[in-house]
């Protein structure tokens, strides 16, 4: 028990670390409630790391099955290469006997294989003869990868213990471990999951997918829904549209899953990339904000703020715009309604909104001097703003008057949207009225300015 005591002592030594450095909405209240006790008195609770024990146990368990596992993994790799690589590669890896490759006639069957085949199978063979040729080659190649269990040795499925039957319950080989299993559908209680399953893989992306049962291993590419056997016979040999799934047994599934997991963990979907971007912008803003606040403090009494301050503000506004855009892009990524992915994307947007609410709104409350000089340099964040900016001299009186209005307008628009989506119609109504007023005000000012301008020009001409 030495490891225990050491871990406990490390736990005891880390008592003074402050925890709540993270922005929280509830900080002031929890502070008040903690006031019942002497502040800062409470030590951090005991915790005990047991990772080392776990890793130790895992290591000792793992080493035993390691060899068998690597072997299966290697077989899986070969199988994927065999079945799912590009046709050009395939021909290289297959090296089929030339005689068989030529066969294309309907009646050109290998009679040696007919023995022991049922009538229905024969019929199928006739239909699929073209595919069958290739299939026999593949079968041979599969057997080179994995030695198959002899058909005669097995009379019932080793997993669900149901007897095999030449028509109703045929024998199938697991392509990974080689033993014979059934392909019967789920049936409670003796077979809660199927004993075998099919998978397809894509060598380019490395994606491995489990697929449903289809006739004669023919499976529509990229479908994960189960296809009933009655759903029609896929045109044989059409490699572009159809991939045949490779059968493995339930117990070898873990090898497949493991491969799948490794592959998925290593690939970064678009979503993850966007998210990293979002977080990096957030960090940037968090770094910039204190600097800006400091600059602002030094500006308070100053009539003409430095260029540094306006530049900082500009950068912040830009960062916010980027942030907002990234958050919205994440939300708009395609996903199934109601799936976990959907919920995650929604949650990320919620977080982004919280962040903006916390950091962007205070940004609006700049002291007048800073605002005045900044107004020209701050980048327009809405189309309306951009439109006006092009026609109006940024340093004019008018621009100064318009700038805050336009900002309010943009903000109000987002509020209205938010309120509507949250179905707070009363709020939305109020907001909409305000928006209307603001727009009226903008129109009035612009109209005034134009009149004055025209007037001024007229004056100038005379």
């Amino acid at each position: 028990m030495s490891s225990r005591s050491t871990s406990a002592s490390t736990a005891a030594s880390t008592t003074t670390t402050p925890v709540s450095s993270i922005p929280r909405t509830i900080t002031p209240v929890s502070g008040a409630s903690a006031g019942f006790y002497r502040p800062g008195f409470q030590p951090k609770g005991v915790y005990r790391p047991r990772t080392d024990e776990f890793a130790e146990a895992r290591k000792s368990k793992r080493s035993a099955g390691k060899i068998e596992q690597t072997r299966l993994e290697r077989r899986l790799e070969k199988l994927i290469n065999l079945h799912f690589s590009e046709p050009s590669e395939k021909s290289k890896t297959l090296q089929p006997p030339p005689a068989r490759q030529r066969r294309s006639s309907l009646f050109d069957l290998d009679f040696s294989e007919l023995r022991g085949k049922s009538a229905s199978e024969l019929w199928k063979d006739v239909i699929n003869s073209q595919a069958q040729n290739g299939k026999n080659d593949i079968r041979a190649a599969e057997q080179r990868i994995t030695p198959w269990e002899g058909d005669s040795a097995v009379s019932q499925c080793p997993i669900c213990l149901v007897s095999f039957h030449p028509i109703t319950n045929r024998k199938h080989h697991c392509r990974l471990c080689g033993r014979i299993i059934c392909s019967l559908p789920v049936r409670h209680p003796q077979r809660p999951v199927t004993c075998s399953l099919l998978f397809v893989a894509n060598t380019k992306t490395g994606v491995i997918e489990e697929v449903g049962e289809g006739i004669d291993y023919g499976v529509r590419r990229r479908t994960t829904s189960t296809m009933g056997p009655g759903k029609g016979i896929p045109p044989p040999g059409d490699d572009d549209k159809f991939l045949s799934g490779v059968r493995i047994c339930r117990e070898c599934r873990s090898v497949l899953l493991r491969q799948q997991h490794i592959q998925e963990a290593h690939s970064t979907p678009m979503f993850a990339k966007l998210y990293t971007l979002l977080i990096s912008i957030e960090k940037e803003v968090e770094d910039l904000l204190p600097q800006f606040q400091e600059l602002l403090l030094s500006l308070n009494n100053d009539e003409r703020p430095t260029a540094g301050a306006s530049a900082a503000r500009k950068r912040l506004v830009e960062a916010f715009a980027h942030y907002d855009a990234a958050a919205k892009r994440i939300r708009n990524l395609p996903c199934v309604r109601g799936s976990s992915q959907d919920r995650v994307q929604m949650a990320i947007l919620a977080r982004a909104n919280l962040f903006l609410q916390k950091n962007m709104f205070p940004l609006q409350s700049l002291p007048k001097p800073a605002r005045r000089t900044n107004s020209g340099s701050s980048t327009p964040s809405t189309p309306t703003l951009a439109l006006n900016e092009t026609t109006i001299d940024p340093d004019s009186e008018l621009a100064h008057a318009l700038q805050p209005l336009l900002e309010q307008e943009a903000l109000l628009e987002t509020f209205v949207q938010e309120a509507t989506t949250k179905r707070k119609f009363e709020n939305a109504q109020t907001l909409r009225e305000n928006l209307k007023e603001i727009r009226g005000e903008i129109d009035r000012i612009v109209a005034n300015a134009e009149r004055e301008q025209a007037h001024g020009k007229g004056k100038g001409r005379t």
């Binding site: 005591s5 406990a8 008592t15 709540s20 993270i22 929280r24 909405t25 509830i26 209240v29 929890s30 409630s33 903690a34 019942f36 006790y37 409470q42 609770g45 005991v46 915790y47 005990r48 047991r50 990772t51 024990e53 776990f54 890793a55 146990a57 895992r58 368990k61 596992q69 873990s254 899953l257 997991h261 998925e264 963990a265 979907p269 979503f271 993850a272 998210y275 976990s340 992915q341 919920r343 995650v344 949650a347 990320i348 919620a350 977080r351 919280l354 609410q357 709104f361 609006q364 409350s365 805050p404 209005l405 309010q408 903000l411 009363e426 709020n427 009225e433 305000n434 007023e437 603001i438």
Partner: protein, 650 residues
Amino acid sequence: MDVFKAVETYITKMVSEPSAMKVLLLDTHTTPIVSSASTQSTLLSHQVYLTDRIDNKRRDRMAHMKCVCFIQPSEDSLEALAAELREPKYGEYYLYFSNILTKSAIERLADVDEYEVVREVQEHFADYIPILPSLFSLGHTPTADRSLYGSSATTWDPKALERAVQAIAAVLLSLKKKPVIRYESMSPMAKKLGVEIQHRIQSEASLFDFRLTQVAPLLLILDRRNDPVTPLLSQWTYQAMVHELIGINNGRVNLSLVPDIRPELAEVTLSTSTDSFFQAHHLATFGDLGTHLKTYVQMYQSKSQAHAPSNIQSIEDMKRFVEEYPEFRKLGGNVSKHVAIVGELSRLVERDKLLTVGEVEQGLASGGQGADLKTVQDLVTDPTIPPFNKLRLVCLYALRHQKTQAANNIASLIELALKNGVDREDAKLVYVLMNIAGSDQRQDDLFSTDSLLAMGRSALKGLKGIENVYMQHAPHLSQTLENLFKGKLREASYPFIEGAGINAGLQRPQDVIIFIIGGATFEEARTVALLNEASSNTSGATGSTSTSAGLRLLLGGTCIHSSSSFVEMIKCAAASFPSSVYDPPAVLANNLPALNINLGGVNVSLGGNTTGVYRTSGDMGVGVQADGIRDGMKTLFGKVKQGVDQIRNS
């Protein structure tokens, strides 16, 4: 000793690592813990974007997300976790357990971690539900299949015992306390729990290895059966009332049964950590609450006027509006929430005639003479009072007068209750209650009736003046704690678990953790909170020698009771007890005459003089005050409602 902070700290620590998109997996046990100590926005700010149950089989695979698992090391949860690790849905796993993990459990998990996805395995002792900074619950409201009691009211259900030991060990670890343990001598359950906890502390010596304090903290284990009165009473403070009349479940209040409730208020959260109004007034009496709510609404009203479209005239106004709008909207939501809750409370109070019932209850429960047989009979025959309230009244009457009144009084009351709508099954509970928590079972005098000294005390209380007739009753816990502070808690009634040390009895503890087997109440929580407040105030003053200075109290219970959950617990428990529990107590049936003679003298001599004086004065005050409260309530709610309607309409 802030349990809320302790659990919050644990959860923050769990979710802050790793810094990436995370899923949080919980089980049925940890879900209420996390939801009461953390908020959605806290979780979001730690990049937890998905919270799900570990036993949910239909979670989607998301290999790019990391997974933080916080579960109880129970068989079910370990099984679900093992299944998850066998086919991991997420990229990496950080496993946190709410209690001590056995060696075999670690090996079992290591065995299934074929993908080597587990990065961290830790024990974080957030194994109880923090409700207030000084109140925790085990969230174990006993039901028929999850019983608290074994085959009698003095034995534990083995599972419930293990759960209680685990949870209290977690409380101690999370606060770093290694206490001495005292228990109520009348309760074999309390003793059993104490012994088990002591044993746990000794067997996990490496965990309980803290710096020693000068005076060891005290763990005081009480039994609900020693005070069955407190959970039977109607409540008159905000949080307690909400729990009593509507029900607070994991910080959530279900208002969907309220007539004409707006859909967004069908379920609201009520937590002191996120709601400043609730934080300020959760201990306020109903009358005070009305006043506070009125000011709150008025504040909202004035703000909303400032935000009205007609008032936004200048650009400055608009600017201010935009800045304040989110805050204002939040305030609006909170105002309508509290108005809805308090409105519902006052509706229920009026509907069930709780003001009348409450007055009598208080009279029965406190030492005073508020209620005689006649008043109780009148209420029991009143058709407008719901049967459950009648049952409570009869229970209280029976508990109060078990020894001092003729048995036929109680029997006739039960008969009367049966004739007036009380279910036969429920009426049986009066005897059950007397059998398992009657005066023979209790070790302390709950009603202060049978000793001269106690009578004098209650008379003193009367002289000091009770500010509110509905707040007369003080839970028995306050008496116990007062004795404890004064060093008068007798070792005969509250013995130490062996191994406490020789001088343990002489030391006055600074930190006291009280645990009530069979559930605590919000009334007791209020007592503890007020004592904490008082002690932090006096210790702030220089060198105060007040008895409560520097004391820190923490209250916990197997659950937090309302009167209905308490009665339900008794009902469920009685079903598995020997059937004799339904019989009238022996004291009533047989040796009643003898008893009457014994007690008669005391009764007469006291009843005539002292109480007579206080009865008249008390009655007058009561009447006036009650009227005041009633009137105040009605007009106040009229006004409040009007105000809110105005705001809504404008």
